[in-house]
């Protein structure tokens, strides 16, 4: 709580991110009170521009875009959380093991790891989602996660490499602690804050991936996510027919989410930087 207060006070980026996330959280909450079901259609007059009654307008399928978006934001956020947590588990295991063991295991793991960085992921994800066409969004999240761990595994490895040389690691080792225990009990807690920052940027990546796959028509097109709404908008040629609000609102909302997540992640990173801490302390003294 104290950290939150400090962040709010010191970092304008964090204030922005906090504001954006309050809006997102509100939308997720609102989705539970939606007057229309997530999959219902022809419930409101079709193709109405934004008005007081339908703030974001209605689409050609007779759905209210605002309420549809509340479901979409909820599902996209769930997908992002799933993708980020699953890929974190893989990244932590690979990074910790490679960093702690070093030597040949490290080389093997890092060669595999770098291959996952180099391989163009989108074509493979396209292949997988074509084959499993129309899988629910939470499975899609897991599949996205299988390809989203390599950058952060490298980061965790480099952190472990430096932690391994600290005195407390030697102390623990000579007191007879096993590798698992040292790595999980002694090293992992040091990484929690940095992991938080990578979770944010990974969520951002996962939402973008979902949008990309959904727009090509590879998601389950009945369940609203941010990508699925854009898919239907382009299926109905919303730009040619002049129903701009059908694309404008989902796109602006996703851009808002991306910027919010990114600001969260950078302000956390900045907060963790010891130089920033020193600055804050000196500021407090001068007050």
């Amino acid at each position: 709580m104290d950290a939150l207060k400090k962040l709010l006070k010191h970092d304008i980026r964090f204030r922005w991110a906090f504001g954006i996330f309050s809006v997102i959280a509100l939308m997720v909450l609102l989705s539970f009170f939606s007057p229309y079901g997530a999959r219902e259609w022809n419930v409101v007059p079709a193709t109405q521009p934004p008005s007081l009654q339908h703030p974001f307008g209605t689409n050609s399928m007779g759905q209210d875009i605002f309420w549809k978006l509340t479901f979409a934001v909820r599902n996209s956020m769930i997908l992002a959380v799933i993708a980020a947590s699953v890929s974190r588990v893989i990244a932590i295991i690979v990074g910790l093991v490679a960093g702690y063991l070093g030597g040949i295991p490290d080389r093997i793991l890092m060669t595999v790891n770098d291959s996952f960085i180099i391989i163009p992921i989108l074509p493979i994800l396209i292949l997988l989602s074509t084959i499993l066409s129309g899988i629910p969004f939470y499975y899609l999240g897991c599949i996205i996660a299988l390809f989203g761990w390599s950058q952060d595994a490298r980061l965790i490895r480099s952190l472990t490499l430096s932690l391994r040389e600290r005195t407390f690691t030697h102390t623990a080792y000579y007191s007879g602690m096993g590798m698992m225990k040292i790595v999980l009990r002694e090293h992992l807690p040091y990484m929690v804050p940095i992991l938080m920052a990578t979770i944010m940027s990974n969520m951002l990546w996962a939402i973008g991936m979902e949008i990309t796959l959904a727009v090509i028509g590879l998601a389950k097109v009945e369940t609203p996510t941010l990508g699925v709404i854009m898919y239907w908008a382009s299926e109905y040629n919303s730009m040619l027919t002049g129903t701009w609000w059908w694309l404008f609102f989902p796109i602006s909302l996703s851009v808002l989410i991306f910027i919010g997540l990114y600001m969260f992640s950078t302000s956390l990173n900045r907060f963790l930087d010891p130089r920033t801490r020193l600055m804050m302390i000196s500021e407090r003294k001068s007050e």
Binding site: I117, I118, I119, P120, L127, T130, G208, M209, F258
Partner: protein, 336 residues
């Protein structure tokens, strides 16, 4: 020299082989774990056209489809056969544009993708690094902060969103650029000034949407690096010695900060390739992305596999080539 080969070259070659191995293996096993049988789904499509066939020709057709897809024999046999296809880059004929071989289709599309990818990556890297360097050196100026805010807004946006936003803004709302395609619809490719100009005109929007997003990252990482380099003793010393800031920035600070930028350029090729693919889909640009999109829509399994394997090979080779020229710009590696 021998040592250089061993220390520098050998790991790169191993990496190259591993990348291709993992890519091809994933591409091989993914369809085999799926509940959908490509042969059955093709048969369903044929029957959906209203064709009636006697059981014998159904069986024969299934047999030849299995052969085409490389699904005959046991799993290890199929795996070996798949490798043979991958190494010879021969994925058989495409089913929707029969009998054109997949490799011919890929060969037709690859130059468009590579052209778009290479120019966009090159421009965004150069421009982003340059601006990031200058902004990092003059960190306290207002324009520097303004540029950083802009880069921070652009960087997290996925390629698809930027492509579609560009298309709406500069092709529909303000129709300055063509909506899509690589050259005017209905014209035949020819070698003339007018045609080249129209190719450029069509490439600007897809290129711009890739550049804008890519630049954000190069800008941010270069700026962070320069502001660290500027705090180093040798820069302070040069400043005290009266060396002009332009010389410090370009010959001292940037020269040192550019090396990590080059390394991350190699790593970024794969993800920018993914970006190029999706940008092509948005702009109907006749590269690998559009080929893949059409193959998915028509269920053309051999084309999908061909595009994926060949793009992995192409990207891995590009990274290897760049890795091999890297010692030319980093003298430390040559001396080791």
């Amino acid at each position: 020299m021998k040592q250089f080969l061993l220390i520098y070259l050998a790991p790169r070659l191993v990496q190259y082989v591993v990348v291709i191995f993992i890519g091809v293996t994933v591409a091989f096993f993914a369809p085999r774990f799926s509940p959908v049988d490509p042969v059955e789904s093709m048969m369903a499509k044929v029957e959906g056209l209203g064709m009636t066939m006697d059981p014998e020709s159904v069986a024969r057709m299934k047999e030849s489809l299995k052969d085409l897809y490389g699904l005959g024999g046991s799993l290890p046999e199929q795996y070996l056969a798949f490798w043979k296809r991958a190494v010879t880059l021969d994925f058989g004929p495409s089913l929707t544009s029969f009998p054109t071989p997949v490799s011919a289709l890929v060969k037709r599309s690859l130059p468009w993708t590579l052209g778009l990818l290479a120019t966009a990556l090159g421009i965004s890297w150069l421009l982003g690094s340059f601006l990031g360097g200058v902004a990092g050196y003059f960190e306290s100026r207002k324009w520097s902060k303004f540029l950083e805010a802009g880069a921070m807004m652009m960087y997290p946006i996925p390629y698809f969103i930027s492509a579609i936003a560009m298309q709406i803004l500069l092709a529909y709302v303000f129709p300055i650029f063509p909506v899509g395609g690589a050259y005017p619809f209905g014209t035949l490719p020819e070698f003339s000034l007018g045609f080249v100009l129209s190719i450029l005109q069509h490439a600007i929007l897809p290129g711009l949407s890739l550049v804008l997003i890519g630049m954000g990252w190069w800008f941010l990482s270069m700026k962070a690096m320069i502001s660290r380099v500027v705090a180093e003793d040798y820069v302070t010393f040069a400043q005290a010695g009266g060396v002009s800031s332009r010389k410090i920035l370009f010959s001292y600070a940037m020269r040192n900060a550019i090396l990590p930028q080059v390394t991350s350029l190699f790593m970024a090729i794969g993800s920018v390739f993914s970006g190029a693919i999706i940008t092509e889909v948005v702009f109907n640009y006749p590269g690998l992305g559009l080929l893949l999109r059409k193959a998915i829509a028509t269920g053309d399994y051999s084309v999908i596999m061909g595009v994926i394997v060949m793009s992995i090979v192409a990207i891995a080779s590009a990274v290897l080539i760049l890795d091999l020229i890297y010692p030319l710009i980093d003298p430390r590696i040559r001396r080791k």
